[in-house]
Symmetry: C2
Subunit: 274 residues, 2 copies
């Protein structure tokens, strides 16, 4: 996706070549080493006519629905926040419930709220508390501090902003009710990308014409097509991941689905090129 | 408390002398080394006439109430449990809310329930989730497993059992609702101890007679008097801990409160001895 971002003019070439990997190597050196430092100008001088990407879903929706093709409508916006909740360590036996400032209880309330929020906003809103770290983390001590992350994603920027606002307001409420302080730090924020409606329609129509089952859905992970969408009509074709498993040796997509996806991609590209 | 337990016949002397400390020394060797391996038979041949213990509260109740003396009614029973919740790790972006098996969300529901349970049972019930450990604990992954501890305490054994039963039933509900498995392991369990009502009354009356403010309350931590209560009338006198701080260099009790406590203890012992 880094290459696509540079190709589409979203990051300077020199900046991308200088990116250092976890092993200490730079992107530029590695491209030379493997023979991929090609001659194409970046950013691209002339935008492509269109860009269509075929990918496994990396999620469970198509597999669960028994549907072969996904006409991808866009890529979700992402909001990552870290909350640090500071209460007061207290003896779990001698401190009455009414005199506690329990950071972990506040974290639990927020975790529950985040789930309710996703249900209330509906649509493709997802909300996840993935990380919680507690201090002192002992069976008989009311927790002094709890740090937690919140991952909010939505295909609609206005809805995503509403989710962030509602969350902040709830944190304020909890902080007052529990007598704790909550510091919110933004870890990452990307706006949603909507794919070109004509490309989405074309993927959908092409699948039907080929006699394949098809549904529209957003991508929950990042993809090259979202970078190309900056400069040309772009879209994606999804095929099922068995049980939604991805980034895992158990990842699998049936050969028939791979073939179906390749055929949809071919016919869509032929249509766009004609 | 170990010595008191042996003295009262609750543990064999040899077993207690063989207890090994974190530094590798045994209790028996250390008693000889510091000259405390006395000649008294253990368990005691003849039970004491009564036992009264003066202690700082190690909690915030007396300090918050501005009360000088606590007539301790007993020691809370303790139930420590560890819950291991196993769900399924999933991508936080691509997994719809309805298809998740989120172990941390289940832990949050249980944390909230435990608070509600304490409020509902009322009285001196306290309930604490002190420890939570999450795997893989990453911002963008629905947590696969969450291990948590629950500390329940009550002065009433029936109520404590009710709390345990209600908690187990709630865990069953959450496991079904969220599609997770919850394994419950008992870490520790002690029944409550009620102090001799005549001793409690005597502490209360004596404080009043000395012109001191007094209230009845249970002890939330363990004390020698609860071991002696096995073999003789026992009770305790509490004095305030400033801000409830204990087991901490900042622990403080005002000199006037220390004196008041000593005078109540003296007068109670004189009354019991007369």
């Amino acid at each position: 996706m880094l290459g696509s971002l540079v190709f589409a003019g979203g990051m300077r070439l020199e900046q991308a070549l200088d990116v250092v990997g976890l092993d200490g190597a730079t992107v530029g050196d590695e491209l030379v080493r493997i023979g991929y430092a090609g001659p194409q100008p970046c950013p691209v001088a002339r935008a492509p006519h269109a860009f269509v990407e075929l990918h496994i879903e990396q999620g469970p929706v198509l597999d669960a629905a028994g549907t072969t093709i996904g006409a991808v409508t866009g890529v979700q916006g992402i909001s990552w926040q870290e909350l640090t909740i500071v209460g007061q360590a207290n003896h779990a036996g001698t401190t009455p419930m009414s005199m506690r400032h329990d950071s972990l209880y506040a974290a639990a309330e927020i975790t529950r709220f985040v789930r309710l929020l996703a249900g209330e906003l509906g649509g493709h809103q997802v909300a996840t508390v993935g990380r919680v770290t507690v201090e002192p983390n002992l069976v008989n001590v009311v927790p002094a501090t709890a740090a937690m992350t919140i991952d909010l994603r939505n295909t609609d920027e206005t809805a995503l902003e509403r989710a962030e606002t509602r969350l902040a307001a709830f944190c304020d409420d909890v902080a007052v009710r529990e007598g704790v302080t909550i510091v919110i730090r933004r870890l990452a924020r990307f706006a949603p990308v909507a794919f070109d409606l004509e490309v989405v329609d074309l993927v959908d129509d092409t699948a039907r014409r080929l006699g394949l089952s098809v549904m529209r859905l957003p991508a929950g992970a990042g993809h090259d097509a979202q970078m190309l969408a900056r400069i040309c009509p772009a879209g994606m074709v999804f095929i099922p991941s068995v049980a939604g498993i991805s980034h895992n040796p158990a990842e699998h997509t049936a050969p028939a689905d791979l073939e179906a996806g390749a055929n949809v991609l071919l016919q869509v590209l032929l249509s766009l090129a004609s």
